[in-house]
Subunit: 422 residues, 2 copies
């Protein structure tokens, strides 16, 4: 016989989703769908068009992308042949497909496929789940939603300006105010790496370490650079110059002659949005690096007081489409971290729209034809009309209905008298 | 050197999604999202609450479900260990997870997990992708959307009535009129199988063959029953009785004493909806069987003139939750085959809402701050406001914008004069 604890363990396992995966109860799902509707509508209002790419991509394409450490977090799908030759093969031979880990690689494939059918400057929306086999921990899930907009075909920073304008409008519509948009340019970072004395080819390695500053602090960054075997002198110069830039801003970038184009680019973009009436701040932040290898110019993220991780991030990736299909095509994108924003709004107990919810209580089982016809008419005037059997203890039932968000009720024998649930 | 044809093949492969998977261009994606909005809103209006379950489930749970042939169409996910012991293992040992093939099994798991937090009668919505590794062919995809509603906890046929009322309202809102709802009851089918002389245990085998009537015709069904080794006499009686039922309807069911409860159930449901003012027909169809093993009572589907496959289907499955978690709980569900409805609406060139789309053409690169501020104001009055660089040949540009659905434009030097695109 099983002990109770053992039995509960069995039971739990049987009804839980796999580790790192989630189910959503109605209240949370409602918040998520409302968020998605707002994001989708505002993206679209700003001239972007939604596309959809498949959840599943060829494993080779995923492995050979420039996805940084994401390529080590793949969910690989077993080939569907009857007789897989296991004894001979390596793990990679057993799989031909994998789940996408972001929406940017599929977008580049999509654009390469359909370029001739798309506008010269293509402004795309992609909203959907991506999958990463990370060790699950608080705030990190193995399946999560990204909400991306991208502009392909515009080499000018009008692309950055439109992306930033659109995403900031979305945040305001979501009720997230007082956020900060932080800008940097990979060309400034590259010049800084060289200025500090690092060898040219160390650039990406240094940048990817700098990206961890949020989580590990300056000491953590220094530690990792030391561990990577870089010269202490170069590391010291790098960190102290970063501090100079944090104080001196773009003027200091110019003074040190780090990257004229990079500095002009960042200044241009900030000047468009820098206004006292704005509901957000926009600043140059020399420590913003972003963790993907493929960025070539502007990089940006949105931060919010008290939240360690950024709520959105993106940048310019002018060489990525080229890598998929030998098509030289400038591109720039911005991605909202849907889960972090959802967690934030959930913690603020946010709900977007109060619904008029009517419960129709059946007092008898008779005359269901007119019950259905009459409730259908009521659906014109209420957001929700739901039929329930009337319980003997109607007070208790109304209490439960109230907890489910119902604010009106009627008994079916008495359809005309609709009463509020107090 | 590659021949052109070879080169094209290489190129195509690189930019195509995997076989059976799809990408969606903006126009088609817009139709799909509009459909989804209508379905979601109407489901909710009728008192159902949306939940979400994970795309990925434990492989054991998927394999041990009552999913019929779907369990042979699983996408299996390789374990994420560094050293998989390939030489020893069988394919099943290599995988721990799989992609869900429907939304019903995850719902039963979800309900078993959260039962204490859910209303006594739980009316759920689930909308999402499911995955089946079928040989891709026209109209069959390896990843597709299902839109399910289910009522858990109601043993009466008010559940069937609410499901049918809701789904028929959705079809009318989608502009699909003149459809037919076909009802049957598994208890009538079971009695019919016994009446024909088949052994009792042959029931499910005969039903699953009957489900193929749409596609294979009566001869095909007889052929498969013969191939399965059933007695010719039993097969003949079965087919001829089916024909009697097709002519005589529920009266014939009663006359042959096939299933009193089944016949009453079907008659009850039809009587609620049978009205000359209805925009759809509702009938008893003795050949409706449904292909899942788990149905226990009412089964139904929606058909539409000229389309071989049903557009929606469902039924009562009172024993399925029991199988997941030893919880006796009546349940009934209805699922819209989103892809088939989308294909139908696409073929009818349907579009749900005409948008006011304004293109703002930048004549110069200057003054982008006020460009952004001014276009943001215009967003209050248009569904879409998108900025483009003004081309030298503006007539040609307006033509292209018109093709993209823009119906208004303005030049940035002349923001006040907004003109229609003729």
């Amino acid at each position: 016989m099983l002990h109770k604890k053992d039995w509960e363990n069995t039971f739990d396992k049987k009804v839980l989703p796999p580790k790192g995966m989630r189910d959503f109860l109605p209240n949370e799902k409602k918040l998520r769908e409302d968020m998605m509707t707002i994001i989708r509508k505002e993206y679209r209002k700003n001239g972007f068009n939604e596309i959809e790419t498949s959840f599943i991509e060829s494993i080779k394409r995923l492995e050979n992308s420039d996805g940084g450490e994401n390529t080590e977090l793949l969910f690989r799908i077993l080939r569907r042949e009857d007789n897989l030759n296991l004894a001979d093969g390596e793990a990679t031979d057993l799989t031909d497909l994998g789940l996408r880990f972001d929406l940017t690689l599929p977008l580049c494939r999509f654009y390469s496929r359909y370029q001739t059918m798309l506008p010269k400057i293509f402004k795309s929306i992609q909203i959907g789940n991506v999958f990463r086999a990370e060790k699950p921990r608080a705030g990190r899930y193995n399946s999560f939603i990204q909400c991306d907009i991208d502009i392909i075909g515009d080499a000018t920073n009008m692309a950055e300006i439109e992306l930033i304008n659109t995403v900031s409008r979305v945040f305001i519509k979501l009720g997230v105010k007082g956020f900060t948009i932080k800008l940097n340019d990979r060309r400034i970072l590259q010049a800084l790496v060289e200025y500090a004395g690092f060898p040219k080819e160390a650039y990406m390695d240094v940048i990817l370490t700098l990206d961890k500053l949020d989580k590990r602090g300056k000491d953590g960054v220094v530690e990792e650079l030391v561990a990577k075997g870089f010269d202490q002198q170069h590391i010291d110069t790098f960190m102290s110059t970063l501090e100079l830039l944090e104080i001196g801003g773009l003027a200091k970038v110019a003074e040190l002659d780090l990257s004229v184009e990079g500095a002009k680019n960042v200044r241009d973009i900030i000047s468009v949005f820098d206004s006292p009436s704005n509901e957000f701040a926009i600043i140059y932040d020399p420590t913003v690096a972003r963790g993907m290898g493929y960025y070539t110019g502007t990089v940006f993220e949105i931060t919010y007081q008290g939240i360690g991780n950024s709520l959105a991030g993106g940048g310019r990736y002018d060489q990525l489409i080229n890598r998929v299909s030998n098509l030289e095509m400038p591109a720039c994108g911005f991605s909202i971290g849907f889960e972090r924003v959802a967690d934030l709004l959930k913690s603020q107990d946010c709900s977007f729209k109060k619904e008029r919810r009517l419960a129709v209580l059946m007092a008898c089982e008779e005359n269901r034809k007119s019950l259905i016809e009459d409730t259908n008419l009521l659906k014109e005037n209420y957001d929700v009309v739901s039929i329930y059997k009337q319980d003997e203890d109607m007070d208790a039932q109304l209490q439960v209905l109230k907890e489910q968000g119902y604010n009106y009720y009627t008994s079916y024998c008495d359809m005309i008298k609709i009463k509020p649930i107090e």
